[in-house]
């Protein structure tokens, strides 16, 4: 039982958690969305959505880590499906986790643990374990050249019961003048999105990390194939800003954002002008947008990156 509790709490530390406080809910990003019904069968197909309402660079510039928290899950999904993976990030990224507004918040939480139905879930105020993640997880550090990622943990005291002795051997990094311990390594690669198969995402995979330098069985094993099988996927909103989805045992857990201000400041203006970035991952064979039966339809054959 104790282990189960830790597994849940640590997984949420990695994959974000429910926010205890409830600041005013921001408005969702002011970009086009398709109307969708409540049931799965009433949702717009992603291919149709993107064909009819593609996101322009100027739309993407309107999305922020903060206003995403004002979107409901369907809106977050509609944004994610219209993004490409972009370049695999490099360097330090600040992280924020969020449950979108709306009634589905409760369902999201339950979905993690197999309930998934409104009314079958707990009172959120009682879910104290999940809050741990909010305090200890601050973001991710990408080592693009090595294909590795590590999570930034700022308060190790909460993890001490499972981290064990020799804490001083844990790799550290200073970010904004604060110490950050680097735990829970993961492998980085281009792979399948579990939400939208039409193009790849950047995958952050904790399954086989025991062969990575600095791997520490406790607590790293808890995220891996013998633990909760954490798997994150991210796509780029714009340079320096990624939207992510965290899964446990292939079940969607929650959303998160990653932001690197320096990259965003440096590359955004070029991005708005050109609308293009380097793509490290497969982005599909072609893309056509809707201008029915008229000359000038986009009909671009895309090639696979890195090939």
């Amino acid at each position: 039982m104790k282990r189960a509790r830790w597994l849940i709490s640590v997984s949420l530390a990695l994959s974000q958690a429910v926010l205890s406080g409830c600041p005013p809910t921001p408005d969702p990003p002011p970009i086009p969305f398709s109307q969708s019904g409540e049931q799965y069968s009433d949702k717009v197909d992603f291919a149709r959505l993107e064909h009819e309402l593609p996101l322009k660079p100027s739309d993407l510039m309107k999305i922020t880590p903060n206003n995403l928290k004002g979107a409901n899950q369907e809106q977050v999904d509609q944004i994610y499906a219209r993004l490409t993976a972009g370049p695999i990030p490099d360097g330090v990224y600040d992280g924020q986790m969020f449950f979108p507004k709306g009634s589905s918040e409760r369902a999201r939480l339950a979905e993690i643990v197999g309930g998934g139905i409104k009314g079958f879930v707990v009172d959120r105020k009682a879910a104290t374990l999940e809050h741990i993640g909010e305090f200890i997880w601050k973001g991710k550090v990408f080592y693009r050249g090595e294909g590795v990622l590590r999570n930034r943990i700022e308060d190790l005291s909460l993890l001490k019961p499972i981290v064990g002795p020799n804490v001083e051997k844990i790799k550290k990094l200073q970010v904004d003048g604060k110490d950050a311990w680097l735990l829970f390594p993961a492998k980085l690669y281009c792979g399948q999105s579990l939400l939208d198969g039409r193009r790849e995402s950047v995958i952050i995979d904790y399954a086989f990390t025991d062969d990575l330098p600095g791997y520490r069985e406790m607590p790293d094993v808890l995220a891996g194939r013998e633990g909760l099988e954490i798997r994150d996927e991210i796509r780029m909103v714009r340079p320096g800003f990624y939207l992510g989805r965290a899964y446990m045992k292939k079940v969607f857990a929650l959303n998160f954002t990653l932001y690197n201000k320096a990259v965003a400041d440096k590359e955004s203006s070029t991005f708005v002008g050109s609308g293009t970035v380097n793509e490290d991952c497969w982005i599909g064979n072609q893309r056509m947008t809707a201008t029915p039966n008229k000359a000038g339809n986009q009909h671009v054959r895309l090639t696979e990156p890195l090939e």
Binding site: I8, Y189, E226, R287, A290
Partner: protein, 810 residues
């Protein structure tokens, strides 16, 4: 292929110049590995169009190598160990272990005359035609696919798209080269990292053992072992794709190989269907046996596969590969069809969801609309009924072509329990969208006519020819000697009176019909007039065979293959004799053809009536499904019969299967059960608003659990109802009163409510609840696989022999 006919010497010379020198005696191949037309597929001389169709059927993957390398593993979570299946050092075991048919033109590295001398050169695979070029591109971009060399035939003048040739590039057919097993194709993986590969495989290029070896869990011994197949950061040297030929190329019943491990082209046909293929086991070859996915889907009989396992409809319903023969005389039916049809223009500014022109192509347009058309009933329940060409094209999607662009987003995620979330259930595949977004779709669609022409060359296999007799009269003489004087004629009379109403495409009265008449129309190429089946759909309760396949639901409205089912099919009423839901076109089987029946035993849609067959000591997959009357596995089951594609081997199997067919009371029931215990670990959080808790629990399925019972169960609906029982009992009651009536409906709702009470303390009790409520939540309650079709059981033994003799002549 036309090029081979006209320039065989040049091709042979080029092959030799490029280092390919292992040409099997009597065969020659082009870069794509295509066979010499005069020696394969009944030895027919095919037209140019038929040859193009054959080459596509044999070799085209239409981009599904990404599906079988990435999508399957990462999105669907099912592991394929391609090395275990295709390793060259086990080439001689491949047929008996996996039912795969060795490509006559490939060789084992190191064998005499094989251009590859070591397994290192081929990363452990066979060496095949075209590999001299392909191997240069492992880990590199720039590979030029052999499909680019396909020489298309001119479009028909009446084709609306035929004004100028606007077909999608043949390169998008994506042939790659053979893996050494027919129908499985390989492509160089540009992302392959040699350094990583050597590291994980202990410094060896020729072995995938470090990549595929299962790593046992260190702490939780109940968890399934996993391998680096689950590790998406490792890129294998090849991406593996599948052509239609993987399931449909097989040994020609008339010209079987002397040694099935080493067939020659003249022993092969592209349309008979592989009766030995173990595709369920192949596609689960990287899974641990103690996983629920493997135990539900990994036990199909040889020659059968559950094609709805991926687009899952929660019905365990493996079916055989259909023999594609005598198509020109297959019955058609006028049905109400909504589909896309070729046209050469669309109204300006119109809705592209009803009329669409491909950008950059002059007048290459499609229009979607509703019309009456004559169509075949293709699948076993009559589904795939919007046209032959569309049925052919759908096969490519079912094997993963365009899966990322247009398929996987429409599939059910078995873990998604929230009906408000995407993935809870299927949504319809959108043909117009995939045509627009997937060039491989268009590459196939633009050549469907040629594929159909090739498939139309499939002909019945006459036993008299297989036995080398002069004509059918000589066969009748032999059969009368074996089964008794006049047996064949007596069997014909029995057939006419008792069988022909379903198993003839001629009209009654049948008494004087000739069931073997051959068409004199030269266009028909001497095929039979009678298809020996009327292809009409009949309620499954009439035939009584295992009904799971008939309850297949993927063609219903709102389901993944909605656009491939006719409105006529979907409007059919349900079968009132069934306890399971059977609306929307479910609950029917079509009356199958008995053409060449002698060559296609065991019988029924699932190969379950007749002896079990297996590959012998090399077969890692066979285990008995025989049970006693209480459903317990037999201690001493009948042995399985070894794969034997010889003429006499097929005939013996036919006779034994006929005996079981006509003596249903003597059949030993077969129920495929789990052959390994499965434990599913859960960490559910349960609460009732006041109390919450995480519970570490496990659900265990013991050995012998009927796979169908679990595979057919709608677990999502049970979970939803358990919740509804707690939050809105009246709604739950209303749901079941509407379905079962006032008294029974209320009782069911109360039972669900009662079962839900114990869940907080004992989450594993969901299994008990499921067992008690099986009738409510099962898509099919059938578990016995070889019952039903009792027609003929009242015949005398002599009459049964006579019928067996007559059917062997068809």
């Amino acid at each position: 292929m036309r090029r081979i006919q006209t320039m065989p010497t040049l091709i042979l010379g080029l092959a030799l110049l490029t280092g390919y020198a292992v040409l099997t005696e009597g065969s020659a191949v082009a870069a794509s590995g295509k066979p010499v037309p005069s020696t394969f597929h009944y030895g027919k001389h095919l037209t140019d169009a038929e040859l193009v169709g054959a080459e596509i059927w044999f070799n085209a993957t239409a981009g599904n190598a990404r599906f079988f390398t990435y999508v399957y593993q990462q999105r669907l979570g099912v592991m394929i160990d391609w090395y275990r299946v295709l390793r060259s050092d086990a080439r001689d075991a491949r047929f008996h272990r996996w039912g795969l048919i060795n490509d006559p033109d490939c060789c084992k590295p190191g064998d005499p005359n094989c251009p590859a001398k070591t397994y290192d050169e081929t990363y452990g695979f066979d060496y095949c035609p075209g590999d001299d070029e392909l191997l240069k591109y492992v880990g590199k971009s720039g590979y030029r696919d052999p499909a680019c060399d396909l020489k298309d035939v001119p479009l028909a003048k009446e084709d609306p798209h035929g004004r100028t040739d606007m077909r999608q590039s043949a390169c998008d057919l994506e042939f790659g080269t053979s893996t050494g097993a027919l129908g499985l194709r390989k492509f160089p993986n540009p992302k392959f990292d040699k350094v990583k590969w050597l590291k994980i495989n202990g410094g060896h290029l020729d072995s995938w053992d470090g990549y595929t070896a299962k790593v046992a869990p260190r702490k939780d011994r109940e968890a399934p072992a996993k391998s680096h197949l689950n590790d998406g950061s490792i890129e294998p040297p090849y991406r593996i794709g599948m052509s239609c030929g993987a399931c449909h190329i097989a040994f020609d019943p008339i010209r079987p190989p002397k040694d099935p491990v080493h067939p020659k082209w003249e022993n092969l046909s592209g349309t008979v269907g592989n009766q030995y293929g173990r595709f369920a086991q192949i596609l689960g070859s990287g899974m641990s046996p103690n996983t629920i996915e493997y135990q539900i889907y990994g036990h199909s009989r040889p020659g059968a596969v559950d094609t709805s396992a991926i687009p899952n409809d929660q019905i365990n319903n493996a079916g055989t590969m259909n023999a594609i023969i005598n198509l020109a005389r297959r019955p058609t039916f006028e049905e109400d069809i909504i589909k896309w049809r070729k046209t050469n223009q669309c109204p300006a500014g119109g809705n592209e969801r009803t009329c669409w022109c491909e950008p950059g192509k002059d007048g290459k347009c499609w229009e979607r609309g509703r019309k009456k058309e004559f169509v075949h009933h293709i699948l076993k329940g009559g589904e795939d009924s919007i046209g032959t060409l569309e049925a052919i094209q759908r096969v490519y999607f079912n094997i993963g072509s365009c899966s990322e662009e247009g398929w996987v987003n429409h599939l059910t995620d078995m873990r998604q329990l929230d009906p408000t979330m995407r993935g809870f259930g299927q949504t319809p595949f959108d043909i117009g969208q995939v045509r627009r977004d997937c060039p491989q779709f268009r590459a196939i669609e633009d050549r469907l006519s040629e594929i159909a022409q090739f498939l139309s060359t499939g002909a019945p296999a006459d036993l008299y020819q297989a036995r080398g007799l002069k004509n059918n009269d000589a066969l009748v003489e032999q059969l009368n000697k074996e089964f008794g004087k006049g047996a064949v004629e007596q069997g014909r009379v029995i057939f006419a009176s008792k069988c022909a109403s379903c198993h003839s495409s001629q009209s009654p009265p049948f008494e004087k019909r000739d069931f073997r008449t051959v068409s004199v129309d030269p266009k028909d190429k001497s095929i039979r007039v009678d298809w020996l089946g009327n292809d009409k759909v009949i309620p499954v309760s009439e035939v009584g065979t295992n009904r799971s396949r008939s309850l297949h639901s993927n063609h219903m409205q709102g389901r993944v293959w909605e656009e491939y089912g006719s409105e006529t099919l979907r409007a059919k009423p349900g079968d009132p004799q069934l306890k399971e839901p059977s609306d929307g076109g479910r609950g029917y089987y079509r009356n199958i053809s008995l053409l060449s029946l002698w060559a296609y035993a065991p019988f029924m849609h699932n190969n379950a009536v007749g002896p079990e067959v297996c590959g012998g000591p090399l077969d890692e997959h066979y285990y008995s499904s025989y049970v006693d009357k209480d459903g317990k596995p037999l201690d001493s089951p009948p042995p399985c019969w070894l794969f034997d594609p010889s003429v006499e081997g097929r005939f013996k199997l036919y006779k034994a299967s006929m005996k079981e067919l006509l003596n249903p009371s003597q059949r030993i029931p077969k129920v495929t059960g789990f052959n390994h215990e499965v434990t599913i670990r859960l960490f559910p959080k349960l609460g009732d608003g006041k109390l919450e808790r995480f519970v570490d629990t496990a659900i265990r399925f013991p050995v012998g659990t009927p796979a169908a019972r679990i595979g057919n169960f709608r677990h999502k609906e049970l979970v939803g109802d358990l919740v509804m029982a707690r939050v809105d009992f009246d709604k739950l009651k209303a749901k079941y009163v509407a379905r079962y009536g006032a008294e029974q409906g209320e009782q069911i709702a109360k039972t669900i409510q009662e079962k839900g009470k114990g869940l907080l303390e004992k989450p594993g009790s969901v299994l008990e609840a499921g067992a008690e409520l099986r009738v409510v939540y099962s898509n099919s309650l059938a578990v016995i696989e070889n019952d039903g079709h009792r027609f003929g059981e009242d015949l005398s033994d002599k009459e049964k022999d006579a019928l067996t003799a007559f059917l062997a002549t068809l």
